[in-house]
């Protein structure tokens, strides 16, 4: 069988050192901190899966994409959902094709056993993400996205695959990975994962980017936004994230909002600009109502003051968050 191989863990390229990963990440448009780069580096160097947790919209999935691009290997993605079962994740038989073959075989004098071997062979096998990752010709990045949404039985099954890198298909036999994939798991923490799975992984918590990092992201991804505007946007977002909102805006929202402001030729943040574009920033009606209140003027004024006084943004934002009266 073509899957069989004794050379488990063939040559695995590493990315060199952590600074190179940082560079590779930023070339791919991802602005990562050194902590993220360290975890990626170690996940590759130690051959251990990386479990990434964090709020929605902080770019967890991006990390796997970038990882595959920097390793110049393929990304195979398994999106988890409630009710995901082994068939969908691992393999299925191509029933239509099998039916046709049975028809064709009717006239031949092959024995039953021969016919059976024919239709339960490699060419009738539909590889789903896990099997595709195991049998890939070069170690791919396997992204298991939102593992918290799959149920516990699936998690147990996954744990087995992750530890043995082999699986058996009754009709074919055992299939063993020739190249152990790099695994990235993400979770939004809607369900507690088992300790066994956690202990198999390196852990990385991704938070919202701080002011400076977010500035860098906006400047790079929305180059049409002036430095002043980007500064205002990021400072304002930082304040918004401290509010008690239904849905806290992530990096994607920052970028959408910046693009919206630029498209409407807004040079600076004021009430009118925010009212016009609030749909890109906040997607929950109650949140929008909260932001539109009198809080908005106070927040904008505080940001203006901080800017005029030339106070550092980190300390300024902390002070404003502390002193500004939150909206109701």
């Amino acid at each position: 069988m073509k899957f069989m191989s004794e050379t488990l863990r063939a040559e695995r390229p590493t990315l060199g050192n952590i600074d190179q990963i940082l560079g590779a990440l930023s070339e791919e448009g991802y602005i990562a901190g050194r902590e993220i780069a360290t975890s990626i580096f170690l996940s590759i160097a130690l051959h251990k899966p990386l479990l990434i947790e964090g709020a929605a919209g902080v770019g967890k999935t991006e990390i796997a994409k970038v990882m595959s691009r920097s390793l110049s290997t393929d990304l195979i993605r398994l999106q988890c959902y409630e009710g995901l079962d082994v068939n969908t994740a691992l393999y299925e038989w191509n029933y239509q094709k099998q039916m046709l073959r049975i028809r064709l075989e009717e006239q031949t004098d092959h024995t039953l056993e021969q016919k059976e071997n024919a239709i339960f062979s490699d060419q009738f096998l539909l590889k789903r993400p896990l099997l595709a990752a195991i049998t890939h010709h070069k170690a791919p990045v396997l992204l298991i996205d939102e593992i918290d949404r799959a149920d516990e039985e699936f998690e147990a099954f996954l744990l087995e695959v992750l530890s043995d890198w082999q699986t058996s298909i009754p009709e074919i036999g055992t299939i063993r990975a020739e190249h152990v994939p790099y695994v990235v798991l993400t979770s939004n923490r809607t369900r507690e994962l088992s300790d066994a799975l956690r202990r198999r992984c390196l852990y990385l918590w991704v938070d919202y980017p701080d002011f400076r990092k977010e500035m860098e992201i906006v400047r790079r991804k929305v180059p049409a936004a002036s430095e002043d505007l980007a500064e205002q946007i990021c400072a304002f977002i930082a304040l918004v994230r401290k509010l008690d909102l239904h849905k806290v805006p992530g990096v994607a929202e920052t970028l959408d909002w910046s693009a919206a402001l630029v498209h409407l030729h807004r040079r600076a943040l004021d009430r009118a600009a925010i009212e016009d574009t609030i749909g890109a920033l906040c997607k929950h009606q109650d949140d929008q109502r909260l932001l539109r209140g009198p809080w908005l003027e106070a927040a904008l004024a505080a940001l203006d003051d901080a800017k005029r006084n030339g106070e550092g943004w980190d300390s300024a934002l902390e002070r404003i968050t502390r002193t500004l009266k939150p909206p109701h």
Partner: protein, 389 residues
């Protein structure tokens, strides 16, 4: 800033790993080994990289990170501490050791949860007469020394319910799905057109229970029993998600999964903010709807344990209740005060919530727990048939 030759480093990292473990981080020899392997490939003279490396290898959940950061600051402090580190380690954790002998009730829960289903003949409940004597006594009137015995009885009742529940599920799972793989084999054997279809059994979908327990002031004692009760049920009725609330909402499912339930409850009482302050039911439920909405589906039974004393705005509560009821199979509200003679649910909070409650019951004594049994059994049977409400 620290001793850097690898021999010492090995020892220090091991010791640091033990310190984390003592503070509740899931960190054992495997993690320490990973950390040491990792330190061989990163430049550990770089203080940031050193810290990131330990963080990613020695921690497994976001809760660990806070503990990690505190411990890191203390252990790898800039001026290299004196060589005898071990006392410091031992002295750090007087009250946090896991060594508490499990109370009787916890043993009962564990034995039961671990045990396979027993044959039906052996359903005798030990101490039945004792149970009868206690069964209509209000939980809050028990003395401390009674609590363990009561807890054991609560588990006993849960066990009987669980047996009945799983039986009703078995009866109901009648529908099937086509098993394509086996169909193909049959097809092959007989050739020609589609042969008989092979079926496979449908996976049964278990009911999920979401427990929202009021732990403010006088509700504390009831909540403890209810958490224990539902915890003991979870093998039979599928997943149980538990939350406690007073002025804010806290998810306690992971904490309750620890092997010593009683220790877990005690720890909760210490760590959950405002374990007995005023109550903001509406805000807590709002928070629940917003952040745990995925738990709300037609296979879910939500059980609220509260006396309905809400100090927040009534509309917030009624709005959240409405959203919850819309999405789930059933909302059960257990109010222990309902057991007191002459009680009328007149508080503003209770009034706001009432329109959105499917089952309003008391849960103040063992008898009323048995009533709860009926509700849950009926619900499970209905869900297994695929119906709603």
């Amino acid at each position: 800033m620290r001793r850097t030759d690898f021999g010492d480093l090995t020892q220090n990292v091991t010791e640091f790993g033990r310190l984390l473990r003592a503070r509740g981080v899931l960190c054992g020899p495997r993690e320490v080994l990973d950390a040491l392997r990792a330190l061989r490939v990163v430049d550990f003279y770089d203080p940031d990289l050193f810290r990131y490396t330990l963080r990613t290898t020695l921690s497994h959940r976001v809760e660990d990170l806070k503990i990690f950061d505190a411990a890191y600051g203390a252990y790898w402090a800039p001026p290299a501490p004196a060589p005898e580190r071990t006392d410091e380690d031992g002295g750090e954790r007087p009250q946090e050791t896991e060594g508490d002998a499990p109370a009787e009730a916890d043993v009962a829960v564990q034995q039961w949860t671990n045990a396979e289903q027993q044959p039906e003949g052996e359903q005798e409940v030990p101490g039945y007469s004792e149970q009868e004597a206690l069964s209509n006594k209000d939980f809050s009137t028990f003395q401390d020394e009674d609590l363990d015995r009561i807890a054991a009885l609560v588990v006993e009742i849960a066990k009987r319910i669980a047996t009945r529940l799983s039986r009703s599920m078995r009866r109901a799972k009648r529908s099937h799905r086509i098993d394509m793989r086996r169909t193909m084999r049959l097809h092959l054997r007989w050739g020609g057109d589609l042969p008989e279809l092979a079926f496979r059994k449908r996976r049964i979908r278990k009911t999920r229970v979401v427990l929202l327990c009021d732990v403010s002031g006088s509700m504390d004692v009831y909540s403890r029993f209810l958490i224990q009760f539902v915890y003991a049920l979870q093998d039979a009725i599928g997943r149980v998600e538990s939350f406690v609330f007073s002025t804010s909402l806290t998810r306690v499912t992971p904490a309750l999964r620890t092997r010593t339930l009683r220790a877990a409850l005690d720890r909760l009482a210490r760590t959950v903010p405002n374990w007995s302050g005023g109550t903001k039911i509406g805000r807590s439920f709002r928070d629940f709807v917003d952040h745990h909405a995925h738990l709300l589906d037609p296979h879910t039974v939500v059980i609220v344990v509260s006396d309905g004393w809400d100090t927040g705005e009534a509309e917030v509560l009624s709005e959240a209740m409405r959203e919850i009821q819309e999405r789930v199979a059933r909302v059960v509200w257990l109010n222990p005060l309902l057991g007191s003679p002459g009680y009328q649910p007149l508080t503003r909070g209770m009034q706001a919530a009432l329109p959105y409650i499917d089952v309003f019951a008391s849960a103040h004594n063992l008898d009323s727990l048995k009533d709860l049994e009926k509700v849950l059994v009926a619900q499970a049977a209905k869900l297994a048939r695929g119906g709603r409400r």
